[in-house]
């Protein structure tokens, strides 16, 4: 009571600091939005299961994926090998688990490469404009008019079809869309007042590009990056299906391709790895769409 008495003479208090809402960073807001999106969370869960399985799976399930272990073309559930065997009598489950590693690694590596090349070229073109822009956009157009699959096949065939080369080939043919998007974002943001303001207090070009404009251009780029993992996986499947895969590694696309001639004798040989590809790409799309909803400030108003 005596405390209150001594406080009495003080003038009416300013709004107490607790009245000020806690600062919420845009990153955390985005995560909250994402967390509330059921489809996106489902996608994320599927994706996590697939990734964890392909990391841990081969350590737990040690059947070698490229060795004949049973009668060829055994249907699922008729042997100790849960998903049956393919046309050479190789275990499909082992193939699925080990192939997941390869497929997902290539998907991520190719997407990283796509984003690296695309963002760098788009950023430089959009930021500097003029002849830099003209030259880089001509290069981009050159890559755009090349038929993607054919060009990737040429690259893989010229060099040996190792995993690294396949990832590089996919990256090289698919960066153009990212570059165009990045350039468009840079052209827009370059003219913003805060870029001018940063320049007026002495920010140099590299700071403006990477620390001022890029973070502001990031939302659409994050979505494109996420979705490009999905398309890289499909691309890899396509190449493997055509026989352009690392002969020393099992991948889902290769499983589909290998088992294709025997589709009438064993549907599961192509269906099981095909489903795996479908699920992975679907999960990535769900996550990508969820990110889009979470990041896009217009949708956030709802």
């Amino acid at each position: 009571m005596s405390d209150r008495a001594t406080e009495m003479p003080t003038p009416p208090a300013l709004p107490t600091p607790t009245a000020v809402p806690e600062a919420v960073s845009p990153t955390r807001q985005t995560w909250q939005m994402f967390y509330q999106n059921r489809a996106a969370m489902l996608g994320l869960c599927i994706l996590l299961v697939i990734i964890i399985t392909s990391i841990v799976g081969p350590l737990l399930y040690t059947v070698p994926p490229r060795e004949m272990v049973w009668m060829p073309l055994t249907p699922p559930g008729q042997s100790e090998y849960l998903l049956g065997t393919d046309y050479l009598g190789r275990d499909l489950l082992a193939g699925l688990i080990n192939g997941g590693r390869v497929t997902i690694t290539i998907g991520f590596a190719a997407a990283v490469l796509t984003v690296l090349i695309g963002v760098t070229i788009g950023a430089l073109a959009g930021f500097f404009g003029g002849w830099v822009d003209t030259t880089l956009m001509k290069v981009t157009e050159f890559f755009q008019v090349l038929p993607n699959l054919l060009f990737a096949m040429v690259v893989v065939m010229l060099f040996s079809p190792t995993l690294t080369n396949i990832a590089i080939a996919i990256g090289i043919v698919s960066w153009t869309a990212t570059a165009r998007l990045t350039r468009a974002e840079f052209l827009r943001i370059r003219e913003m007042d805060y870029v001018k303001a940063e320049r007026s207090i002495g920010a140099g070009n590299s700071r403006l590009i990477w620390k001022v404009i890029l973070p502001n251009a990031a939302p659409p780029l994050i979505i494109v990056a996420a979705l490009s993992i999905g398309s890289a996986i499909l691309f890899e499947a396509g190449l493997s299906f055509l026989g352009l895969s690392d002969p020393n590694a099992m991948s889902w696309g290769r499983m589909v391709g290998d088992n294709r001639p025997y589709i009438l004798d064993s549907v599961w040989g192509v269906t099981i790895p095909g489903l795996a590809i479908f699920l992975t790409v679907l999960a990535i799309s769900l996550v990508g769409d969820g990110l889009n909803d979470a990041i896009n400030p217009k949708l956030r108003q709802r």
Binding site: P17, A23, Y194, K196, A197, S200, I201, G202, P215, N216
Partner: protein
Amino acid sequence: MTQNLLSVQDLEISFRTVAGEVQVVRDLSFELAQGEVLGIVGESGCGKSITALSLLGLVPNPPGRVSKGRILLEGEDIVTASERRLRQIRGNDISMVFQEPMTSLNPVYSVGEQIAETARAHFNSSRSEAWERAIEMLQLVGIPSPERRAHEFPHQLSGGMRQRVMIAIALVCEPKVLIADEPTTALDVTVQAQIFDLFRDLQHKIGAAIILITHDIGVVAQMTDRVIVMYAGRKIEEGPVSAFITDPRHPYTRGLVNCIPRLSLDPSDDPEPLFEIPGVVPSPSDLSLPRCAFAPRCRNAFALCLEKSPPLLPVAEGRAAACWLETEKPG
């Protein structure tokens, strides 16, 4: 004569257009002394803002360039300085507060980070030192509970708060010259007054010279020591602020000063209709004619005005005006 902090000599800024090269600023010279507040006044499009940008070496090039003249900062020419040197000058020696506080802050960083980052770039201080400096600056510009506010993002602050943050960013490196390009145009009147109080307060504390660009004569009267009036890229009058308000010499300046509405408490007092200057600022490409640029809008124009452009001549102690009426009477 004491060494002036900033000295602009015969500045000419040109822009390349489809119609050829046009001069948006011509023959502009002025001096800025330590701790002085200089007002630059004029209508939209008269070359105020581009002059301000040229002081930072930020004239958009192409299409613009400084085609003539020198800008000396303590004797060093900014026009010919290297980009690397310019980057040191920006922020450290000269910094700028822009017109639009709503869009001049980077939306993805908290305001504290933005101030701290500037401090770090210029002082090479550690992250925590820079953060403390940021909070100190927020305190200096009168933001309540700065430790909390420093974590907030620009969209969480009001316009006046944001302009305070902009000022904090501009002042964090203790520049010698602060350019304020219509710093309160986007703010409402009560906040305007607060921001100007802040400017004056900070000027006492930090001692920076201020160049205040505005078209608000009231602001000029309150804030500045000396005024330059620009019209169509030229300086047409210069003088101490009191003389500028009470005894404008150039017809254009007279027009500007008469444009201020006056309040009257007497209901029977029927004030004259508010004065306006007829016409609009000529486009820079119309200025190739050898006449006074203001002549088409001037009610006192006579034959000589349409033949020759008047030079800027001293009309009184410390004052100059570019008008034939001051030198040659119509005869």
